[in-house]
């Protein structure tokens, strides 16, 4: 059965990208547009577009093992819902997605065998993508796939991977399952790997769901430049998580002008004013949602754009932790031009002309005094009466 699967794969998945493009009716221009978008999202200079295109076209297809643990599968579904299915599907073909429970046609032992075969064939070369949190409590018995806890699976799989991507907030830091008392001890991938003492570079792509474009950009960055993108202190690519939503938001001028929606549906809300008062967590959430929006539905297709405050889905300590209506901490200061300092230069000081005029007047008086005193020395005096 496994053999048959392999044959099917090799038969139906073309190795030549150009052929695939033609077959799917994607012209070169559209393809380059996609590559430009990916390049831009990755924060790479435009000169790199050709390189990114070359990487996409290259016959070399890194294998990907995609594991699911405590998750809702939203991240995978979002990837599949990207509106350019032809090109997105294409990218899925440029990586060799050797194992994905969602997409795999097979099930059961055959599916598992496909995974182990791929791992065996690509030791040290495959990318491990993890979706979903890992329950740390009670050895991880709350999530068993193929009879194994996530920890058991990871112990077997992770040491052979080249790098790992934790897609979604769950895999990055625990996500929604870690909310409240966190009954299963839901934990992110990196922390689990550290606990298991497995040394593997992890890129976190939090979000609920994670943006498919961030994933695509990360993968293509790696393919093009053969290295991981620059990461912040939480292992998140800076190109996607380097700015606060607040600093990128199209409603920021309303925040700066003090125009807030006070209640859902009120006049200000209808005007599209800032949602800070309704609990928007944009000021303390690092993500690029306002720029890349979500799933190509159209402009304004992200929470704030539709009129709902951001709840900080990607940010540990904010999303699923703070109440949605709770006001966010504003982590960045409004630019200094907009707010004056405590001490500012005010009033009109001395000009050259004024000083000259004042000096002349004083000088004239002093001079006149000197001249006069010399004159009076020799003048006749009145006698005084007794």
């Amino acid at each position: 059965m496994g053999e048959r699967l392999k044959q099917l794969q090799e038969k139906h998945l073309f190795k030549d990208i150009k052929e695939q493009l033609t077959n799917r009716g994607v012209d070169r221009r559209e393809f380059l547009k996609f590559c430009t978008l990916i390049t831009a999202t990755a924060g790479l200079p435009f000169g790199m577009v050709e390189k990114v295109a070359a990487a996409v076209e290259s016959p070399q297809r890194p294998p990907v093992i995609w594991l699911h643990f405590q998750e809702c599968t939203g991240c995978t579904e979002s990837l599949l819902r990207a509106t350019h299915p032809t090109v997105e599907g294409l990218v899925l073909d440029t990586i060799s997605l050797d194992y994905s429970e969602t997409l795999l046609a097979a099930a059961g032992h055959q599916a598992e065998k496909a995974m182990w075969d791929s791992i065996e064939a690509n030791k040290g070369k495959f990318i491990l993508v993890v979706e979903g949190s890992i329950p740390a409590k009670d050895g991880g018995i709350y999530c068993k796939v193929a009879g194994k806890t996530p920890q058991e699976t990871l112990r077997e799989v992770a040491p052979h991977a080249a790098a790992a991507i934790a897609i979604g907030s769950c895999a990055s830091w625990g996500g929604v399952q870690s909310s409240g008392i966190n009954p299963t001890g839901a934990t992110g991938l990196k922390e689990i790997l550290d606990m298991e003492k497995i040394d593997l570079p992890v890129i976190n792509l939090p979000g609920c769901p994670a943006s498919p474009y961030n994933l695509l950009s990360t993968v293509l960055y790696y393919l093009t430049l053969k290295k991981l993108p620059e990461l912040d202190d939480k292992n998140r690519p800076l190109f996607a998580y380097g700015r606060l939503i607040h600093d990128n938001c199209e409603r920021r001028p309303h925040f700066d002008a003090g125009r807030f929606a006070h209640q859902f549906g009120d006049e200000n809300h209808r005007q599209g004013y800032c949602l800070y008062k309704l609990g928007c967590k944009g000021p303390e959430t690092w993500a690029n949602c306002p720029s890349i929006l979500y799933c190509d539905v159209g402009s304004g297709s992200w929470p704030v754009g539709t009129g709902h405050p951001c709840f900080g889905c990607s940010e540990e300590g904010v999303g699923f932790t703070k109440a949605i209506h709770e006001q966010a901490e504003v982590l960045s200061v409004t630019p200094s031009e907009g707010v004056p300092g405590i001490i500012e230069d005010r009033g009109a000081g001395m000009t050259g002309t004024a000083a000259a005029v004042a000096g002349t007047v004083v000088g004239a008086i002093v001079g006149a005094g000197a001249v006069l005193s010399r004159k009076v020395k020799d003048m006749p005096e009145e006698d005084m009466e007794g």
């Binding site: 001490i343 005010r346 000081g349 007047v361 005193s373 009076v376 020395k377 005096e381 009145e382 005084m384």
Partner: protein, 379 residues
């Protein structure tokens, strides 16, 4: 022969024309102020709402115009009738000085069209020191002209009116001594409410006393200087002997001022500030201007020499001027970041107002019996 006589002579002289030009410039700028607002002509700002016009034209100008006050005290309180010949020119200088100060106030207040309100019972605020200053100054300006009126009435030969005025004059003289005592000291008290905004080198509860003493010495200094300038300008004999005797009291007053000043600074523990920065420099300059004339005038020989007397008189005047500028402007810091220096237009208005005052003085002494009749030497 009358004690006083107009000196006659051409009205339109070269100095007159020069002063006239300055006056016309000022009148143009004053017009600009009324049409466009105070900001169009001055550098005044919210941090420095009082500048050249208030500090020189009103505060300092009236102090310089304390010649009449100083002379009245000497002549009518201390019964030094021998100084009588100086009284009319002193009164004229004072009357003109206060009138010009009144003009400056009219220019400087923003809402001059409501300048009558402090005089109305429903509005008057007796707690405000500035209210007391304004009432006193307004009344005193009137009193000064009444005190000066015999000169005018004599010329107009309005003898009936002249007799009435002379009968009541003692009361006006009394007012003419009381009122300046009140408002010249209050010009110092005005700054007390500014608290920390006035540098500790100048802020003290002794401000009223210091301002009063410096106003009196300024007045004497003005009398000396003005007398000498008149003599030189109108080619008359110097009144040095009289001025020398008169100025005998001045070094004592200067000394009293310095004693109170330094004792107060020591008591408040602020004496160290006199060595610090620009404030310290201005304080030392001011103090020197008090010390120099004090030293000079202590010696009767130097008092009798017209040139040293004039220099000492000028120093005394400058001392009072600098003291007022220091207390109101140089030492005034509303908050860090504020700057002020008068604009050229602002200075030209002040210069023009002084020019108008001098012009008026020239016209008066030429047409009215202000200056003493020159004595003929008997063989």
């Amino acid at each position: 022969m009358s004690e006083f006589k107009p000196i006659g002579g051409k009205i339109i002289t070269k100095p007159f024309i020069f002063l006239g030009i300055l006056a016309i410039i000022a009148i143009y700028l004053i017009g600009k102020r009324f049409v466009f607002g105070i900001g169009a002509v001055t550098n005044l700002s919210d941090g420095y709402p009082w500048g050249m016009w208030i500090v020189y034209d009103v505060v300092t100008g009236t102090a310089i115009g304390c010649g009449g006050y100083a002379m009245a005290v000497l002549i009518y309180l201390f019964n030094k009738g021998k100084y009588h010949p100086l009284i009319r020119s002193a009164m004229l200088t004072s009357a003109l000085g206060y009138s010009m100060a009144g003009l400056a106030i009219f220019l400087d207040v923003g809402r001059y069209y409501q300048l009558y309100t402090p005089f109305l019972p429903g509005y008057a605020n007796v707690n405000s020191i500035l209210w007391e200053v304004s009432i006193c100054m307004a009344s005193y300006s009137l009193i000064l002209w009444i005190e000066f009126s015999p000169t005018i009435l004599e010329k107009l030969k309005a003898n009936g009116l002249l007799r009435i005025v002379r009968k009541c004059l003692f009361f006006f003289i009394g007012m003419g001594i009381l009122l300046p005592t009140m408002h010249q000291s209050s010009l110092g008290s005005v700054l007390i409410i500014a608290g920390h905004k006035v540098s500790p080198l100048w802020q003290t509860m002794f401000l009223p006393l210091l301002f009063l003493i410096s106003a009196i010495v300024l007045g004497f200094g003005a009398v000396i200087v003005e007398s000498m300038i008149s003599a030189v300008s109108f080619n008359r004999k110097l009144e040095t002997p009289m001025l020398a005797k008169l100025s005998g009291i001045v070094p004592w007053l200067l000394g009293l001022f310095l004693v109170i000043r330094f004792a107060d600074l020591l008591y408040r523990g602020q004496i160290g500030l006199m060595f610090q920065g620009f404030m310290g420099f201005m304080f030392i300059t001011e103090s020197l201007l008090f010390i120099i004339p004090m030293v000079v005038l202590l010696s009767p020989a130097r008092r009798s020499q017209p040139n040293t007397l004039l220099i000492a008189g000028l120093c005394t005047v400058f001392a009072g001027v600098i003291y007022r500028f220091n207390a109101y402007l140089v030492g005034f810091h509303p908050a860090p970041g504020w700057h002020y220096f008068p604009s050229v237009q602002e200075i030209m208005v002040t210069v023009g107002i002084i020019a108008i005052e001098v012009l008026a003085y020239l016209v008066f002494v030429k047409l009215f019996p202000v200056l003493p009749t020159p004595k003929k030497k008997y063989a």
